[in-house]
Symmetry: C2
Subunit: 105 residues, 2 copies
């Protein structure tokens, strides 16, 4: 009868984390600051979506974007403190997957 009484903060967290690629991008950036092209190659995401997601994560203050005025210009992306605070979630997923996920078809 009544509906969702789920905490809005929690819902927003899920909205961010469940948006496709975001968790993988954060996982990748836990390795440290990285350039756009490095992320793209490592994660195997298209540039269209990568740009979109990095912008989203930047707006959410999870990722910081830095322009390095070299030639040609290079952009570095890194996790903010808020972004680094996601590490325990990723660790928990890692642990669960190593315990419960099998991959033979």
């Amino acid at each position: 009868m009544d509906q969702k009484k789920i905490c809005p903060r929690f819902e927003k967290a899920l909205k961010i984390l469940n948006h496709s690629w975001n968790t993988l991008l954060i996982y990748q950036l836990l390795e440290g600051s990285q350039r756009y092209s490095t992320i793209k190659n490592q994660v195997g995401i298209s540039s269209r979506v990568l740009t979109e997601r990095l912008k989203e994560l930047e707006i959410e203050n999870i990722v910081k974007r830095t322009v390095i005025p070299s030639t040609p210009v290079v952009i570095e992306y890194e996790l903010t403190e808020k972004g680094h605070a996601l590490a325990p979630i990723l660790k928990a997923i890692e642990q669960w997957s190593s315990m419960w996920v099998n991959i033979e078809e």
Copy 2:
């Protein structure tokens, strides 16, 4: 140059968890066994997608589906052991969101 060396188990875990609604459904089922219509109303998901996701989670052995031969027939869904093992991930997300997510626009 080289590409993703990400653990395939981890990748599969992300694939399941990031699929929209799945995390929220698991969170809801952590409350205990529930009927189809209850889940639908509590989570606010459409029946088309709900059916799709529950089937997916059942195939992944995260959710168990039980037919109760009442009239009309009722279906109960509950987490398996593998499903319950996801609780620490959800807790970590809860903790992060309470710490870092703010919601005023």
